[in-house]
C-alpha cells in the first residue's frame, strides 16, 4: 500500500527502535518549551535537519513540504509577536514550531507503520487493568487500514452508478445522495466483517 509517509532507506536512524525515536521526540518537545530562547530553538532545528538529511538521508523535498505546511502558521506567529511583544520572541517561537514539526516528520519518515502500530499495542498493554485487550486494538487498527481504500472504492462505485443513470455529481445535494447509500453499504459491510471474524474466533483473542 502506498498510503504511508515512510521513506525506505538503510540508515542508523531507520534502524533505531520505534519506541526510542518516539521517546526522543517527546523529550525534544519538552526541552524546547522549557528553554524558550532563540539559540536553543535554532540549535534544535539545525540538529533535526542534520539528522534528517545527513544521518537518515531523507529527500530535501520531504522536509521542505512539511515545513511549507506550517510556514503560514510560523509566519503568523512571528508577525503577531513582532507587533505584540518583540521580534526575538517571535523568531524563537516560529523556529521552535518548525523544529518540532520537522523532528516529528523525521520520525514518521524513518519508521514503518507496522513498527509504530506495534508500539501502540505495547503502550496499550497497561490498559489491560481496565479490561482493554491490546490485541483488539491491533485488530481495529488493521481493519481501519483495510477500510480506507475500501470506503474510497465503494464511493467511486456509487458515484459511477449514479452518473450512469444521469445523476448529478457535484454540489451538496449530490454529496448527500452519495453518502447515504455509501454509509448504509459500508455499515452492512462492517457488520458482516464483524460476524465473519467472530465465526473465526476473533472474540476470544
Amino acid at each position: 500500500m502506498t498510503l504511508a509517509l515512510y521513506v525506505p532507506r538503510t540508515s542508523p536512524v531507520h534502524r533505531l527502535p520505534a519506541g526510542v525515536k518516539l521517546l526522543v521526540l517527546l523529550v525534544l518537545g519538552v526541552v524546547v518549551f522549557v528553554v524558550p530562547t532563540l539559540p536553543a530553538a535554532l540549535g534544535t532545528l539545525l540538529a533535526v535537519v542534520l539528522v534528517g538529511l545527513g544521518a537518515a538521508r531523507l529527500p530535501v523535498g520531504l522536509l521542505l513540504r512539511q515545513a511549507r505546511a506550517v510556514a503560514v502558521w510560523a509566519a503568523a506567529i512571528f508577525v503577531f509577536h513582532a507587533l505584540a511583544t518583540d521580534v526575538l520572541t517571535g523568531a524563537a517561537t516560529a523556529v521552535r514550531l518548525l523544529a518540532l514539526v520537522l523532528a516529528a516528520a523525521v520520525v514518521t519518515a524513518t519508521t514503518r507503520v507496522t513498527a509504530l502500530v506495534a508500539v501502540v499495542e505495547r503502550l496499550c498493554a497497561p490498559l489491560r487493568v481496565f479490561g482493554v485487550r491490546p490485541a483488539r486494538i491491533g485488530l481495529a487498527l488493521a481493519m481501519a487500514l483495510r477500510f480506507v481504500p475500501l470506503v474510497a472504492e465503494r464511493a467511486d462505485r456509487i458515484r459511477e452508478a449514479q452518473a450512469a443513470r444521469g445523476g448529478r455529481v457535484r454540489g451538496p445535494r449530490a454529496l448527500v445522495r452519495l453518502v447515504v447509500p455509501l454509509l448504509v453499504s459500508v455499515l452492512q459491510l462492517a457488520h458482516t466483517v464483524g460476524e465473519a471474524l467472530d465465526a473465526r474466533g476473533a472474540d476470544t483473542a
Binding site: V148, P172, V176, Q188
Partner: protein, 188 residues
C-alpha cells in the same frame, strides 16, 4: 465490546480518513479551504453514538500518528500533534462523544433540527472550545486573537453541520446503529 462494534469503529476511522482524501474546496474570500474531514467527526458521533464515536476518532488519530497521510491536504505523522492547530485534532474524539451523547438523548425524536443541535454543539462548539485555548497557549496570543483567527472556519463548519444532520437522519431511517429496531414490536 463486540467484534461488530470494533468493525464499526474501524469503519468510521477509515471514513474520516477517506473524507480527508477528498480535495478541499477553496473559497475565494476565505484563507482556508473547506475540507470534508470534520464531517467524519460529526457523522461518527451521530451514527455510532457516544462511546463508539469517541473510539472511532481516537483510532483515527492513531492512524494519523503512525504516519498515514489521512489528514486533509495529505498531512499526517507525528508532526501535526505538535503544531499550533493540534488542539483541534485532540478535540475530535470529544466532539464525536458529545455529538453522540446528544444524538442518543434525542434518538426517539431525531429530525434534521434536533440532529443539527447535536452536530453544532458537538461538532463545532466542542471543537472550538478545545482548539482555540490550545492555539492561544501555543502561539502565546490572547484568546480573542486566536478566536478571531479561527472564525474563518465557522461558515464551512456550519455547512458541514447541516449536511451531517441530514445524513444522520437519513441513516437512522435506513440503518439505525444506536438503537436497533425491535423486530417483535414492528412486525405486523
Amino acid at each position: 465490546m463486540k467484534t461488530r462494534d470494533l468493525a464499526y469503529i474501524a469503519l468510521f476511522a477509515a471514513l474520516t480518513a477517506a473524507l480527508g482524501l477528498l480535495p478541499a474546496i477553496p473559497v475565494a474570500a476565505l484563507p482556508v479551504p473547506i475540507t470534508a474531514q470534520t464531517l467524519g467527526v460529526m457523522l461518527a458521533g451521530a451514527v455510532l453514538g457516544a462511546r463508539r464515536g469517541f473510539l472511532a476518532l481516537l483510532l483515527f488519530l492513531v492512524l494519523v500518528a503512525v504516519g498515514l497521510p489521512v489528514l486533509s491536504g495529505g498531512r499526517g505523522g507525528l508532526a501535526v500533534f505538535v503544531g499550533p492547530s493540534a488542539g483541534f485534532l485532540y478535540s475530535w474524539p470529544v466532539a464525536a462523544l458529545v455529538t453522540g451523547l446528544l444524538v442518543e438523548l434525542l434518538w426517539r425524536r431525531l429530525n434534521v433540527v434536533t440532529a443539527l443541535v447535536a452536530t453544532v454543539v458537538g461538532g463545532i462548539g466542542v471543537v472550538y472550545a478545545i482548539g482555540i485555548p490550545f492555539l492561544s497557549l501555543y502561539a502565546d496570543t490572547s484568546l480573542a486573537a486566536a478566536a478571531t483567527g479561527s472564525l474563518v472556519f465557522v461558515p464551512g463548519d456550519l455547512v458541514k453541520a447541516v449536511i451531517a444532520a441530514v445524513l444522520a437522519v437519513a441513516v437512522r431511517r435506513a440503518y439505525p446503529v444506536v438503537e436497533r429496531p425491535r423486530r417483535a414490536a414492528t412486525a405486523p
